[in-house]
Amino acid sequence: MYENFRRLLVIYRGARSPFVISQVFLVVSVLLNLAIVALNGTLVNEGVQQGNIQVVIGTAIWMIGLTLVQTVFALGNTFFAVLFAEGTANFLRTSTYRKVQMLSFGNLDRFRTSDLLVRLTSDINNVKLAVLYAVMLLFQAPFMIVAAVLMAIVLLPSMLWLMVVIMAIVSLVLVLLLRGVQQMFLDRQNALDGVNNVLQEALAGVRVVKAFVRERFEMERFASTTSTWFDAALRPAYRIALFVPSLQALVYIGTAALYYFGGQTVLAGTTNLGEIVVFSNVLSMVVVPMAMLAFIVPFLESGEASVGRVFEVLDEQPEIVEPEDAKPIDVSTLRGRIVFENAAFGYRDGTGEVAKLALQGISLTIEPGQTVGFLGATGSGKSTLVNLIPRFYDVVEGRVMIDGVDVRAIPRRQFDQIVGVALQEAVLFSGTVRGNVLFGRPDLDDDVMVAAAHAADAASFIERIPEQYDAPVARRGTNFSGGQRQRLSIARALAAHPPIVILDDSTSALDMATEARVQAAVEELLASSTKLYVAQRISTVLTADQIVLLDAGRQVAVGNHTELLENSPLYREIYESQLGKIEEQSL
């Protein structure tokens, strides 16, 4: 039972002391609570019934004193329990996040961002709640129940049966009330997700909605999902509405039974009033921990499932492992000659198997300082091919070499100095423009940054913002347009003047004039670096020294524009489809 939790406790030794301390506080606090209840009996039997005012005053003072002490211990328990729970959450959050940072592209392809985010946020929150309730209540509740039953036995064994009956009925009612309630909450959450999906879609697609004049339709769709949610929300709410009144009514009825049956024994002289009064306190005392137990079980279960999901991430092994005999290479003398030798690659599925090759038979030689364009349809393997160079993925056959060294023999941490990449998706991070352009090398100075921004044609719009390079960048760069994000991400790739630059479809959102300017400036800034362009648009690669045309994972033609136009029918077809018939181009 709760295997993942036990594993968590083994791994997480860091905060054992708050855990132990909280439990010590807990035990003392519960014992004091019982003492206070017992004092009620003294008050009645020895004080009121005997008419002894001294005892009454003395007992009352004791009760206040013990209450104060008990509160201190109860607060102590809360304090350390919270520290333990929050500490656990912090530990899981940082170690899981750091683990994700250590994974490779191949691992990241299998975990979706939203999935990882759920594990790092709501799953860890579930664990935190489960730990908190477990630490605060899991031992307290049974302890209180046992203590109450023991008190009942010592105090009034003749009425023990009533206690047992009440406990049995309360258990039955709890089971009946809570049965299926978790499912109801899940259904409600799903219904709410449904409502939010319609909302999200109607907002994101507002232009389509308005273009086809379907506002009315969307309103009806929203009203109908919202009424599904209305029903789904009411079901658990109606169930919960029963909870407190039912338990409260049971305590009242139990008390009535106690007075009826117990009262007769007092009238018969076999017990006294004080014992009845204390017993009635004990009776109501036993119901609360039972309800608590019933409430925390679902938390424990979802916490257990959540820890399991977090462990899945922690147990993931990076696909790319550091070579054991990795010898650092001298980056400053690197020339950037890239050779593919009969390289093949396939993405791994969940089981780590390569089902289908995404690239095969790739043999290329790229000389230092060359500009090379990679062209082909979506899915032809262009991006995959260039991703093999900085070892984002490992080949399954053949090899890729930089200046004659197999990339698998180069230490991983050196790649960010060797290769500057602007990935297909131009990702910016919140912070400043400066922080983004100098993302890989915060140590570089402003001249380098400005030169990179100029080459990427980003300086023109950056310098129009009042704060210039200190201008804030919103989360995921949403305050910049797609074209501006691409230009900033190109600037980031150029900033450190790496020997190899890869621009993976990084100019797709730019108009052709801007793209031409960027390419010319990159040539000038990084004349000696090897420059690789992955492109959809043929105009991006027209001027390259070499154009590599890919189709379905194979290289079908390599050469410059003139050669390919002559030799490759596919190249010619692409050219004409994008730029028009060659014979029409006479002016």
Partner: protein
């Protein structure tokens, strides 16, 4: 949000207009307006209050009956009397159960019903607003108002309101009953209740800001993780894993600290109010016992008062929390109401007419337009499209091409000049009638997460399956649709992600065909498709445009070469108009744009 909004405002002139007017309506007015949604179910709400009052009265009667029982037992009364009291307690308990349950249940109905109306009203209103609203407001901001802010109102309606009513009624009724039974003990209670409330509110004032801080930290940490996980490959490519791990650790430690503070503050309320209540209880026991010994009343009354004192604890304890819930709900409601108070900027005139299309003769006469006053986006735009002509629009990014089309469909109204279709000024036409007859294939191929068939039918209410299939065939989409797992019944995932971009484009073309408009706007996407798909798409577009007046916004000039008229636009001004040959001969903007495509290396040109 403020930082993001500010930079957005700085960058995008369209957003420089005011954001949603978050006016400073007083708290009371906002709450009154919010409660109108509850009072909508007047009768039900009255029932709730009645049942609630009855259940509180019964829960005050029960300790009294228990005290009577104790007095009978302690005073050596009759067994018959005891039976009667015990039965009364059981009866009152059952009545209490019914009243409390039904009041809980009905208030849930009233609350969820109010939320239902608020949600749909907000959605309907957002749907009816002009595009101008969406330009000013980032999508996330609107979403946040429709989800997070509504959620805070949800917790007030479905929990806080019930707690507030119960707490206040319980405190008032119990204190009143105490006074009826015994003035001295009641005064003790009355003197200590402010202490308890004070403790509860004080802790509420600590917990409230702590939770607000926690929300802020949570939003920061989650935002950071969302951003870095989405950009994880970039972090990896630049070797920044350690730095991002350290940054998250800082955020996480902050989260732990504020989380602990908020939790401890809220979990301490109960023990601390408990101390105050226990002092009250001890004083009642002390004074009551002394009075019982003196024979003022039986010990049963002491037990009654002790139970009353216990009954006060939870209602008082909750006051701090209720206070925070109300404040949060009011803040959320203010943001929601600000959206509800937004007015559409483009409105139909009272005597707006239907568009009668007769060939599709479009005339822009000296049109000026600005999103923000004083910053003209379009200047002196004059052009004409004869029925059946294809008009190409080209120019650099931001030249105003899409704006011209937004004006033709009246998403925005012109500053000056007129736009007419077949002689009818569009300012006097119903927006719906205009848009129903102008088809648009937009740059972003947006599809709904619904079946292929329903996506096609989206274009026109009442379109039949046969019509949709015919349209799909025309648009060259039929073939790939039939290869999908369930053909036309295949469910498309969010934003059509399980289709390739080319397939999505073909579907949007088919959708436009279903609408069968007489006038067309094509905002061609920068296409990422292979040549075969490209051909199919172009063929579909040709069929769609056949015989219709159409406007094509081109990113690749080859698609508009054959236009009867090409408009070359820069900075909102139409610099050149004419056919491809005319504009090439002109050697102006169009010529430059055209030649850039065939750029040759400077050194190669030498």
């Amino acid at each position: 949000m403020s930082e993001q909004a500010n930079t957005a405002v700085a960058k995008d002139p369209r957003r420089r207009r005011r954001a949603i007017d978050d006016d400073q309506t007083p708290l009371g007015a906002t709450l009154r307006r919010l409660m109108e949604y509850i009072f909508y179910r007047r009768a039900r709400f009255a029932l709730v209050v009645t049942l609630l009052f009855a259940s509180v009265l019964l829960s005050a009667l029960l300790p009294y009956l228990m005290g009577r029982a104790i007095d009978i037992i302690g005073g050596g009364g009759e067994a018959a009397e005891l039976t009667q009291v015990a039965l009364s307690i059981a009866g009152a308990a059952v009545l209490y159960w019914v009243c409390a349950w039904q009041s809980n249940r009905n208030i849930q109905y009233v609350a969820q019903d109010a939320l239902f109306r608020l949600r749909t009203e907000l959605f309907d209103h957002i749907q009816s607003l002009s595009l101008n609203f969406y330009d000013r407001q980032p999508l996330g901001e609107i979403m946040s108002r429709a989800t997070n802010d509504i959620d805070t109102i949800d917790s007030f309606f479905s929990r806080g309101l019930n707690q507030l009513l119960t707490s206040v009624t319980t405190i008032v009724v119990i204190v009143a009953v105490m006074f009826m039974l015994n003035g001295t003990l009641a005064i003790i209670a009355l003197l200590t209740i402010p202490l308890m409330i004070g403790v509860a509110l004080m802790m509420g004032r600590v917990a409230g800001p702590a939770f607000a801080q926690l929300q802020q930290n949570l939003a920061d940490a989650n935002g950071y993780m969302e951003e870095t996980l989405a950009g994880n490959k970039t972090i990896l490519a630049y070797g920044q894993q350690r730095r991002s791990g350290d940054a998250l650790e800082d955020l996480s430690v902050g989260l732990r600290n504020t989380g602990a503070k908020a939790l401890i503050a809220s979990l301490s309320v109960s023990p601390l109010v408990g101390v105050a209540q226990n002092v009250q209880l001890a004083l009642i026991a002390l004074v009551g016992s002394i009075q019982a010994i003196e024979g003022v009343f039986g010990f049963g009354t002491v037990v009654t008062f002790i139970t009353y004192s216990n009954q006060l604890q939870v209602p008082v304890q909750q006051l701090g929390q209720i206070y925070n819930t109300i404040l949060q709900a009011a803040a959320g409601a203010a943001r929601v109401f600000a959206v509800l108070d937004e007015q559409s900027t483009v409105r139909d005139a009272p005597d707006a007419k239907e568009l009668t299309l007769n060939g599709g003769h479009v005339v822009f006469d000296n049109v000026d337009f600005s999103y923000v006053k004083g910053r003209k986006i379009l200047r002196n735009n004059t052009f004409e499209a004869l029925p059946g002509q294809k008009i190409g629009l080209c120019g650099p990014t931001g030249a105003g091409k899409s704006t011209i089309m937004n004006i033709l469909t009246r998403y925005y109204d012109v500053d000056s000049g007129t736009v007419s279709i077949d002689g009818q000024n569009i300012a006097g036409l119903r927006q719906a009638s205009l848009r129903q007859q102008i088809g648009a294939v937009l740059q972003e191929a947006f599809l709904f997460s619904d079946t292929v068939m329903n996506n096609l039918k989206y274009a026109r209410a009442g379109a039949t399956d046969a019509e949709c299939i015919a349209a799909a065939q025309e648009a060259n989409a039929h073939e790939f649709i039939m290869q999908l797992p369930h053909g036309y019944d295949t469910l498309l995932s969010e934003r059509g992600a399980n289709l390739s971009q080319g397939q999505r484009q073909m579907l949007t073309i088919a959708r436009a065909m279903v609408a069968n408009p007489k006038l067309l706007i094509l905002d061609e996407a920068t296409s990422n498709v292979d040549t075969r798909t490209e051909k199919l798409i172009q063929q579909g577009l040709q069929r769609l445009m056949a015989g219709k007046t159409s406007f094509v916004i081109a990113h690749r000039l080859s698609t508009i070469r054959d236009s009867q008229r090409i408009l070359a636009i820069k900075d909102g001004v139409i610099l050149e108009q004419g056919t491809h040959e005319e504009l090439m001969a002109n050697k102006g903007l169009y010529y430059d744009l055209y030649m850039t495509q065939f750029r040759v290396r400077p050194e190669a040109a030498i």
